[in-house]
Subunit: 438 residues, 2 copies
């Protein structure tokens, strides 16, 4: 049974605090294994990657077959139905349109001193996207990771995806081809992350690695962080729905289940200002669970980590939501925009009952890679910004240096950094001698 709480009851604060810090995943310590795999790939390159792929994926490769050939990709893509292709194309188009608006602007201005200041954005040169194999091989995730990189202008974009026993999802290859991916390697696990970070004879190293993966992939990403950039290490998915009584309990129930079905560790929470409505939604969840294909996953998730919280009013709902800082937040209320004004921490907001969270997973346009585990307090979903970086610009004139240089020299001396001061002083001295050109 999910947790039922009411903010009007004694003990609510303690129970809510416990919900906030609830541990949903057992950390698996694979760090030593992963360190060994990375060292092996760094030492032996392709040979190590091929050997590990044979061991873990039961697949015999050569340096020549590490990547899918154009013919293989075409043959796989040909298997995709017309309907699936059209849906994926529409998703790609909408995700691209949304992310194109995120491209940051360069800036340059001249101050009264005559100095010019500004910054410039440039894309990461090469990015590697990890795509899990098996059940978690989601074509939508390929679009969500690759399109922001493509929009940013990343020159070389590659995928590493395990293909256990040689099995590949044709939709993954179609998604790759729709989003400008250059090469798809049949390599997974920590060995894929190591190859992307350090390179092998066949796989050139990249500068940034993104994409979800299992405990081995996550541990490897943590280890190569610094050598390359990485995206967040995502935890299990979460949804918070704030709904008033004027909703169909079944709609809210399927919305809650759409997160619960991802993972037994996923968490679905309903906050409502009507206790009876909360009960009705819980009953609707149970009804749907009877026939849901993934009830073996969604059931435990809902019963172990689900919660229905009754509050006095929607203002209180917003406060609790900000403490949860949910990955996904649905506002199924009469005035969703008004309520959203009070939301300070959330990965993505879905406004109104006609916006089920699943729209954001596939086709809305915004990214579905979002901060989990309360990290929306300090981080954002994946975006074009993850594939660009800023170079700041400064250009002094002799007059500008004469105006602000002495203060820099003074601060350098106060920090006992003499050479810093001298680098300004040497120039000011020439100005004082009247030798300034320009």
């Amino acid at each position: 049974m999910p947790l039922f709480l009411s903010s009007a009851e004694a003990g609510f604060e303690a129970a809510f605090a416990q919900l906030l810090t609830m541990k949903r995943e057992d950390a698996v310590d694979v760090d030593d294994t992963v360190a060994g795999i990375i060292a092996d790939v760094r030492a032996r390159g392709d040979a190590a990657v091929i050997e590990l792929t044979s061991r873990f994926d039961r697949l015999t490769l050569t340096p020549q077959t590490l990547a899918f050939s154009a013919e293989e990709i075409a043959a796989e893509i040909a298997k995709v139905s017309e309907e699936d292709r059209a849906a994926l194309e529409l998703a790609a188009e909408r995700i691209r349109a949304y992310h194109a608006r995120q491209m940051p602007q360069d800036a340059r201005w001249t101050e009264p001193t005559g100095a010019e200041l500004g910054w410039r954005w440039t894309p990461v040169s090469a990015a590697g996207l990890y795509v899990p194999g098996g059940l978690a091989s989601y074509p939508s995730s390929v679009l969500m990771n690759a399109i922001p990189a493509q929009v940013a202008g990343v020159e070389r974009l590659v995928i590493c995806a395990p293909t256990p026993d040689g099995v590949v999802n044709p939709l993954v290859l179609l998604a790759a081809s729709l989003s400008g991916v250059d090469t798809v390697y049949r390599v997974g696990g920590a060995q894929a992350i190591a190859a992307l970070a350090y390179g092998t004879e066949t796989i050139a190293p990249v500068d940034k690695i993104t994409g979800p993966g299992n405990a081995f992939v996550a541990a490897a990403k943590r280890r190569v962080f610094g050598r390359v950039g990485i995206d967040m290490i995502a935890g299990p998915s979460e949804i918070l729905v704030i709904a008033d009584r004027d909703n169909d309990p079944d709609w809210i129930a399927v919305d809650l289940l759409s997160q619960a079905e991802h993972d037994e560790s996923a968490q679905s929470i309903l906050i409502t200002d009507d206790a009876a409505f909360g009960q009705a939604v819980a009953a609707a969840v149970e009804a749907r669970l009877e026939t849901l294909e993934r009830r073996a996953i969604a059931g435990p998730s809902w019963r172990d980590f689900g919660a229905v919280i009754t509050v006095r009013d929607l203002a209180e709902a917003a406060e609790l939501s900000n403490r949860i800082a949910p990955e996904h937040l649905e506002l199924c209320v009469a005035d969703p925009d008004g309520l959203a004004e009070h939301i300070t921490h959330a990965g993505a907001i879905f406004l109104g009952a006609w916006t089920p969270e699943a729209i954001g997973d596939y086709i809305g346009g915004p990214n579905h890679v979002l901060p989990t585990a309360r990290s929306a307090r300090f981080s954002s979903g994946l975006s074009v910004m993850d594939f660009v970086k800023r170079t700041t610009l400064a250009k002094m004139t002799p007059a500008a240096l004469a105006e602000i240089g002495p203060a820099a020299e003074r601060l350098a001396i106060s920090e006992s950094l003499e050479a810093h001061g001298l680098s300004v002083r040497a120039r000011l001295d020439r100005l004082n001698r009247g030798e300034a050109a320009e």
Copy 2:
């Protein structure tokens, strides 16, 4: 003696590749110690923080004296000279003006489908800034970390700074007061990071921790990453100067030394298209080193890690620079803007010989917290963006859902995520029954 290389010589590529991967710091493994300190602070709160401060900083504190009082701060600030105060105020004003331009814009638009999409930026609620003690206690770093947070609108901004034997730098407290810092705690090391991340009875937890520190601080930041946001883990400082022969060798020499004096592991590199000019700069460095206050630091840095590279032309200089991806890049050439067009990876560019890097350290306006160790390939300097996060927004209408919902349902089915599809289908079914309200 620094390394002298010429791109025209045989063996250059190998020598340059070696320079790129040169290890400048021995990693100190303090991870177990740090794990113990964090566990202790989590378990015992203030008591642990006070005990560790007594042990490491020889300072006896109580919960009441963990933070500086307003009177103590006023008394320390009163010690600052008028000249130092004016310099710091000018720096704060210029840094604030630069960073104010970085505030990202919200967006919201309506598509032809009728759906509304967009995003909204909100500040992190609370940020903690670590300020090292002793020699590395730089007031300029307080401004560079705190002002972007202040500009972002961070509500609560605190500093943790060790004060060994009770000694504090008055300029640090003045910088804190100029940049909107609410509270300064006399706590340093891993215990400060643990207190900021998990909170104690006296120190409320924050959402984001930034600022430089020693190996213990860096290891602690790595460990609390995920619980809170952190900025980059900075390595030793670096400068690359690209200079043609029309420069005063002494100017370039002091610029190179202004990084070398930071740390024996710092790295200063000159690339020039004139071998004789390179020799003249190297000679000027040696001359300056004879009297430089910090020659015991700058000398080893220059001799162990410094390099003078002669290239055929400036285009080649830009190529090599992009492979180095320097933290600081000075372009002391006739057409610095033209050369900057070819630079794809650098933390900060200083355009023209009248812009010594030290201007950027103190007073130019751009941030001096910049990506080191080649990480400018994939990351940016500190900015307002580090203290805000994006919430994406989506609002469907019944008509919009009717138009794009079926594709979402199709993709959900292709990924075997039935409840995702059902959450769309439940709404489409009502539309099909002609019940749509609004």
